[in-house]
Each structure stands twice: as C-alpha cells, then as structure tokens.
C-alpha cells in the first residue's frame, strides 16, 4: 500500500468528520428563529406530566451549550472541544441523562441486529447471485431473478410492515416488537437468549430479505463478467472440478469488487435499518432517533447523526485500508 494512498484516504476520512461536525453546528444556526425558545415552549406545551422536564436546568444547559453570547468562531471551537471529549450534551426529553449514555444504551442492539443481518444478507445474496450467473445451474433458478428485482425495489421497512402483519397479526408466530419480552429483565441464560433471538427474527428477516435481492443482482452482474475472462477458460482446460472453478475462480474474483460496493450501499443499509427499528420498536439507535425526533430532543438527534456518520465513515475507511491486503490486484496497482 502506498503512502500516498494512505494519506489521501485518511484525509477523506477526516474531512468526513469535519463536515459532519460542521453541519451539525451550522444548520441550527443558519435556520432563522431562536431554537431554544422554540423548543422549550414546544416541550412545556407537549409534555403532559409523563416526563417532567426541568426547564430551568435544561435552559441553563442550552445556554451553556450554545454559548450564544460568544462569537460564532468561538462557539464553533467550543463545539469541537466538547465533541473531542465525547461530550454531546444532555438529553432534553430525559434530562439529566446525557446524550452519550442514551446512545450507548441503544448502540449494542443496533450493532447486533444490523451487523448480523447485513452480514447474512451479503453472504446469502452473493452466493445466490453467483449461482444465478453460473451456466450449469438449473434454469428454474433463473426464474428467481424478476422476484429478486421486485424485492430489492421494496424499501426495508415496508417489507417489515408486511412481515409484521402476516406473521404477528395474522399468524401470531412472533412478538410484535421490542428486543425482549416487555417487563422481563435481560438474562444471559438459554431462555433469555432465545427470547432475544425471537424478537430479533422479524426485524432481521426484513433487512435480510430486502438485502439479498440487491446483493444477488449486483453479484450476478459481476460474476457474468468474470465468467467471460480467459482464466475461466483455462480453469476448465485444466480439468478442474466445477465446484472449484465456481468458488476459486468465479466467486473469489467477483466477491472482492463486491466488497467495495458495500461502501455504496452501507448508507442505504443504515437508513433502511433505522426505519426497521422504528417499525419493530427495536430499542436501537434508529428507534432512539425516531423518539428523539418525536420529542424534539435535538441534542440526541445531533449526537446520533454524528455517531452514524463517524462510524460509517470509519468502517469504510478501515475497509479501504484492508481491501488492498486481501486483493492482490489492488495491492499491485498501488505498489
């Protein structure tokens, strides 16, 4: 890996962070009106006793946060200072809980659900797409292609709604929402784990189902072009077994570029899963974001957005750095 590449890629990653922080800082200030007055009146008007809000303390936190008396540059630098210390301020709806605490309670659920199901969708989808391009596969399988196209065209959360209706309301086979049975405490025994898995099945299924379609389609395209390469011909001439050619020549060469397109869809996966969490009231980042938007809990929204941008940016950064190590073609080009 060349030094230049490393520098350029690192630069892009840092720019992503700068941009995200700046957008978070600037947009509330660009929009006319006093956000504090606005929100506090809204809050006191809408909160009906349930979550009592300490308006005075919140207002103080607000003032301090925005430091509206200082110059814009100073405010901006202060904002950076806080962010670098992982201080995202307080939640408005659940004061005095900090935004950081609020997010870190939700994060593991999202990582578990979205991470696992994206991985499963990638594996199944890629395998399916590879098979669909393989000439020796029964024709009947190719009938799946239009179906895959339709499924890949459906946004994740709409699939979730359909799954809830069919499997929860009609068939009563799964719990409607949440991450574990309401009212129970989370335990790490067999029953506890089974309960968590049962609750995760439907949200995961909607992410996986919707994901498989697009992975399979792009993998199929990639595989078709790889199968036209000269090295596939030589592999046949060598007398290799079909399975070996499929896996080591076809799949291996198509999968690697497929990993880079993960970069393009990751944003789509994340936004899709935010809404899946909302539909299933799954207590992850997406649902937290939805609740924060509902209750105009602006700092939580900002914090989550920042976390999303930085973590996705970081994941892509790491992937771009690892990729040359696993694909000798790229390694050579950059050497």
């Amino acid at each position: 890996m060349s030094f230049q590449y490393l520098v350029r890629r690192t630069g892009t990653f840092l720019l992503v962070i700068v941009l995200a922080v700046s957008v978070n800082f600037l947009i509330p200030r660009l929009i006319p009106g006093d956000p504090i007055e606005d929100r506090l009146t809204q809050l006191s008007a809408t909160s009906s006793g349930g979550a009592s809000i300490d308006i005075a303390a919140t207002a103080a936190a607000y003032r301090e946060r925005f430091g509206l008396d200082k110059s814009l540059v100073e405010q901006y630098l202060n904002y950076w200072w806080d962010i670098l210390h992982l201080d995202f301020g307080y939640s408005l709806a659940n004061y005095p809980e900090t935004v950081g605490a609020s997010i870190s309670a939700a994060l593991p659920w999202t990582l578990g659900l979205v991470g696992t199901s994206t991985l499963i969708a990638f594996v199944i989808g890629s395998l399916l797409g590879g098979l669909l391009a393989w000439p020796r596969v029964p024709r009947a399988l190719r009938g799946f292609i239009p179906l895959l196209m339709v499924i890949s065209a459906i946004p994740y959360f709409l699939l979730g709604i359909i799954l809830i209706y069919v499997l929860v309301i009609v068939a009563r086979a799964f719990p409607a929402g949440g991450a574990y049975t309401f009212g129970s405490t989370l335990r790490f025994d067999l029953n506890g784990i089974a309960d968590v898995l049962r609750h995760a099945t439907l949200p995961a299924a909607s992410i996986i189902l919707a994901g498989i379609g697009s992975w399979a389609l792009s993998m199929r395209g990639m595989m078709i072009s790889v199968l036209g390469e000269d090295f596939i011909k030589l592999a046949h001439a060598k007398g290799l077994k079909q399975r070996r050619i499929f896996l080591w020549y076809g799949m291996r060469n198509s999968l690697l570029p497929q990993l880079t397109s993960l970069a393009l869809v990751l944003g789509y996966v994340v936004s899709g899963s935010i809404l899946v969490e909302v539909i299933f009231s799954y207590p992850g980042i997406g649902y937290k974001l939805y609740q924060a938007i509902q209750s105009k809990d602006y700092f939580v929204v900002q914090g989550i957005v920042l976390i999303l941008v930085v973590s996705i940016g970081f994941a892509l950064y790491v992937m771009d750095l690892i990729y040359p190590l696993i694909d000798p073609r790229i390694r050579y080009q950059q050497a």
Binding site: D230, A237, K238, P328
Partner: protein
C-alpha cells in the same frame, strides 16, 4: 507409419443462431502422430480456434459439436461423460491458451494454480514432492523457482505464458493444443516462448497442434501444416512442401502474401471477403475469391484427397475424378 495418437474424423461444429446454424467446423479430418508438430492456419473466422476448443470439448453455448469423432489413443472423446472428459483434460490432452495476459487467476499465487492441477487429477499428493515438481517445471520453461510464490500481476506477459506452458506439461500430456499462444506478446518474446514450447515438447515427445495465422511462425515450428478455410481443411502437407509447392490456390495466395520469410512475418490479407459461414457459397467455398476457378467449382465441393504420399488437398484442380470429367 506409427499409429496416430489423435484422429479427428469428420468433425462438425455449429453455432446455433436465430438466423440458422453457422457451420464453423464443417467436416474436418486429420491424424496426428506422436511427437508431431501440426500447424493449423487460416484467416480469423476460418474455424481454427473453434476446432481447438472442440477437441478439448470446451465449446460454450451456442456452439455445439454436431458430428464426427475425436479419437485419443483409440478412445472417442466425444462419447465420454463430462467427468471422464474432465479427467482427460490437461492429463492427456492439454492446452496453452490464447490470451496469455489474462489466463491466470489474478487472486491466486502461481504455486496454488499449479497445485490444483495435481489435485484435480489425483497426482503428487506428497507436499515435498509437489514442491519439487513445481520448481522443476518452472525451471524447465526458463523461469526461476520463486516465481511460484508470485501473483500473476507481478509477472510480465512472456513470463505468464511460460507459466501456462509449465502448467500444460505438468501432467505429461500426449497432445498439447496451443491456440495462438504468442498473439499477445511482442516479437522477441514470441520467439523465446515458441522455443520454450518446442523444447518441452521434444522432451515429452508430446504432439502439438499449433493454431495461428502467422505463416512465419508456422514455418519455423511445424512439421506439417493444415490450412483451414470456411470451416474446412483445404490442404494438409509437410511444411516444406507447403512452402515450396503449395497446391490449393488459397494456400498459394497465403504464401504469396508473405513478402519475405526472413524479413517480415506478417500475414497480409487476401483480396476478397471471407465467406459467410451462415450461407456459405455453393460448391467450393473459396471459388468466389479463387483466380483459378473453373466449371465444377461453383457447384461441387471438392473433397480432401491424397495427391502424393502425405499430401492432401481439397481442390478440383488436383482432383483426379473432376479432371477426368472435364477432359472427357
């Protein structure tokens, strides 16, 4: 004459298209002796590459073998199951591919690409022995042993083609098909690669079918030359006679179109257009371009006949029967 190692009898290959079958190989027959070097020449579209693939049974849709026999040591390859054929590939009948630049799997080391040949044919299960064999093969084609640990992208075009040759001889095959093995290489490297191919062929006493359109290369390499035109073999003769006294008018034009054997080895075109294989001309497919065409040519397609010992030609000018008829 020794028993031929490979006999091709009346081979027909068609491409099935919406407009009808394209007869890419149309009744080709020839014998190949052990250790012999046969050159197959012809313009692009004459069916030579299709035939090379047909011998390996590696044609893809829409191409299909419609008839004929390919006997390797008396066994008809066209009658074997796909699994039986797989075992024969590279073991007894191997090939050096056309596209040297892209014929190796870019994400596998050379060593692994050679090991899998042994594995696929159940040879050299012992690790140390395998290692030794790979090192030996690479040295044989003029490469260093450590090339085995490189990826294809780290090798030059000539090195890649040498690796392909090393692979092709890995299982000591009886027949090697080389389909324009040097087309992607520059002239100096071409020569070296052909010398390497010749050397390993001699060691193994394997027969080689060299497919190409470069008459100069053929003249240097082949023992016998077969000339293909419109999916047919129109002349087959020892290399010296092909060059000194070509019989078929097409062969004559081919030879004439080489300015000088020593200076330039470029094959220049022949006036006229290559025939459509979908609707081939009636009679002899060459007659529309042939300067010597006469009465029977547009109607009767001449068969490949032996004119002298070891010399075969498909042309009415040299056919006993037709000459008799027209004289009478």
């Amino acid at each position: 004459m020794t028993t031929p190692v490979l006999r091709v009898q009346d081979l027909h290959v068609h491409y099935r298209t919406a407009a009808g079958p394209v007869k890419a190989v149309n009744g080709v027959s020839f014998d190949l002796a052990p250790g012999e070097r046969l050159g197959l020449v012809g313009e692009s579209g004459s069916g030579k590459t299709t035939m090379a693939l047909a011998l390996m049974r590696m044609l893809e849709q829409p191409a299909r073998i419609e008839g004929g026999r390919v006997l390797l040591d008396g066994v008809d390859l066209l009658a074997l199951s796909e699994e039986q054929m797989r075992r024969i590939r590279f073991d007894r009948l191997s090939m050096v591919p056309q596209g040297a630049m892209n014929s190796l799997n870019p994400v596998m080391r050379i060593r692994d690409q050679m090991i899998e040949i042994f594995n696929a044919h159940g040879r050299h299960p012992d690790k140390a022995e395998r290692r030794e064999r790979i090192g030996h093969l690479l040295e044989r084609v003029g490469l260093k042993r450590d090339v085995a640990d490189r990826y294809p992208h780290e090798l030059s075009g000539g090195m890649k083609q040498r690796v392909c040759i090393a692979m092709a001889i890995a299982l000591r095959p009886q027949v090697i098909i080389a389909d324009e093995p040097t087309s992607a290489l520059d002239v100096v490297v071409q020569r070296q690669v052909m010398e390497t191919l010749g050397a390993v062929q001699k060691d193994l006493n394997a027969a080689v079918i060299l497919v190409g359109h470069d008459m100069g290369l053929m003249a240097q390499f082949a023992d016998r030359i077969g000339v293909m035109y419109a999916g047919r073999l129109v002349e087959l003769a020892p290399v010296r006679q092909i060059f000194s006294a070509p019989q078929h008018p097409y062969t004559q034009m081919l030879i004439a179109s080489i300015p000088s054997l020593e200076e330039k080895r470029l094959f220049k075109g022949i006036p006229g257009v290559a025939p459509s294989l979908l609707n081939p001309p009636s009679g002899c497919p060459f007659h529309p371009r042939c300067p010597a065409a006469f009465a029977p040519c547009p109607t009767i397609n001449p068969a490949l006949e032996e004119t002298d010992a070891g010399r075969w030609v498909a042309c009415h000018l040299h056919s006993e029967a037709v000459l008799h008829d027209s004289r009478a």
